[in-house]
Structure formats: C-alpha cells, structure tokens
Symmetry: C2
Subunit: 132 residues, 2 copies
Amino acid sequence: MNAPPLTKNQALVFDVLEKAEGPLSAYTILDKLRDHGFRAPLQVYRALEKLLEYGVVHRLESINSFVACAHPGENCHSHGIVAFAICESCGQVMEFHDHEVDHRLMDWTRGKKFKAEKTTIEIRGLCEACAA
Amino acid sequence: MNAPPLTKNQALVFDVLEKAEGPLSAYTILDKLRDHGFRAPLQVYRALEKLLEYGVVHRLESINSFVACAHPGENCHSHGIVAFAICESCGQVMEFHDHEVDHRLMDWTRGKKFKAEKTTIEIRGLCEACAA
DNA sequence: ATCAATTGCGTTATGCTATAACGTGTGCGA
DNA sequence: TCGCACACGTTATAGCATAACGCAATTGAT
Ligand SMILES: [Zn+2]
Ligand SMILES: [Zn+2]
Ligand SMILES: [Zn+2]
Ligand SMILES: [Zn+2]
C-alpha cells in the first residue's frame, strides 16, 4: 500500500507522531491536537487506521501506542517483518528488520500450514543510555 | 521462577485457562468465576500477575488475552523466547520456541547494547483448518 | 509469646483504550 | 442529477487495567 496524500486529520496525527520523541497513545495524540479542533478519540483512531494501512505508522501492541515509521518515504510494508526495541525507561523506540528472523518464522508457519497475516515482534528492556 | 503451590484464586484462574480452548480475556475469566465468588477484575488480575511470574500462563499482547502455557510441568521461562501463532478465526493458539530466532534477536540487542527484558513474538493469521 | 513485615484477599472507585451507531457534507463518475 | 464512497463530527458505550483503602493470615525474627 503506497501512501496517497494525507487528509487534514491524518496529516495532523502523523505530524504529532513524527515530532514526538517516542511512541504516543491515541489519547495523548488527542490531547496534543485539541488546539487543532480534535474533540473525540475516534478522530485519532480513524486517522491512525489509515496511517497504519499506508505503513507510515506502526502500532506497538505491548504498550498500546503508536510510532512514526523510521523509514520516511519508503514503504515499510515491503521490508518484511518489523521489529521494535522499546526502552521502558526513556520510551525510545528502535525499529529494525531481520530477514533471517523472518525466514525462521516463515519456515515455522509453512511447516504448520499457518497463514500469517500480521507479525508482532517487540523487545522491551533498557536502551544503552538507560541501562548504564 | 519455579511455581510454588498456587493459592485458591490462582488455582481457580489457572484451571479456567487450562480448560479453555483458546486464550481468554481477564473479564471473560472473571465471568467464568463469578459462581466461585469472584466479583472484581482485580481478583483475576492479581492471580494472573502471579501465574505470569511463575511462567505457567502467558499474556498475548496483541489480543489482550491470557493463555495457559503449552508446557505443563516445565518452566517455560527456561525455553528462551516464546512465540505464538494465533488464529484470528477460531482463536486457537500454538506456542513454540525457536532458538535461531532468539539468537538473531539477541545478536541485534547485543550490537545495540540494548538490555532485553521481555520479548513478544505473536503471529496472527489463520490456522490450517481455518485457512482452507 | 510478640511484634513487624509480607502476602493474599475483598471492595470501591477510577482511569485508560477502543469501537458502535448515527448523521453531515463533499466530491466524483454513471 | 443521482448514487456512491469517503472523510468527518458527535454521543454513547464497551472493554481493559489499576489505584487506594482496609482486613486477615502467615511467617520469621527478637
Ligand atoms: Zn517502519
Ligand atoms: Zn532508554
Ligand atoms: Zn509456555
Ligand atoms: Zn483457526
């Protein structure tokens, strides 16, 4: 899915996520956009739904938050499985891809005849700075 | 963490999860235990907290649910990273371990000096039966 | 035996996350 | 012009998780 031009609300939500240091919850995004006329969670969730579909935003399942893709301009969906390392102290998120991991997981699913649709890999812990 | 004898509430919650076909949400567990005196979510969450700590229950982050470990009697924490394949149609969950995946992720974290505490791998899709 | 610390438990209240359902307006092709 | 798709706004509701209080039983020193 390539990203078509964003609508006003989509652009506002994306902008907040891009400027943020780390992942944000939908309600945090809502609060940051109240000055721009946002009043209800659905305005955020609807924008996020599209941004996720376009692959420019990722959802972090383990912390119920959203983060802008680390590959601006590219289509992240084409990179294979996305993995995240999330620092539980400072909130910083590192996004990476490992094709060997993809292959191992795909081998497993093929062996089980499991049709994978969406794979989540999230490592929570402490980044180098916070672990010191 | 080895599992000490379970308390009454812990045993009730674990029993519900063991007998279940698939993962259950905390509130579903609560409903199933109302006849046994459960009245409030905290009774479930407190039991789950311990069961997770003992490694006899796993939390599925992507669907906010809990499932009994597929390795009764063993200490699942010692198997390395746990991965799950979750059928979005029938709810069935397959738990597996892949040391090669573990190593790849550990290599990455070592390279970034990231101190991993807890890793989530969840594949959502369709099981063989449901994909047919 | 006594005291203090720990742990489990019950209850009430609250907060956070996500979606259902309804209606409006706009643009665009048949 | 009609019909449809889509974005948007609003209200209400559903679903997930924890804070804060108090009580009782257990344990393990002193
Ligand atoms: Zn990305
Ligand atoms: Zn950090
Ligand atoms: Zn297990
Ligand atoms: Zn299935």
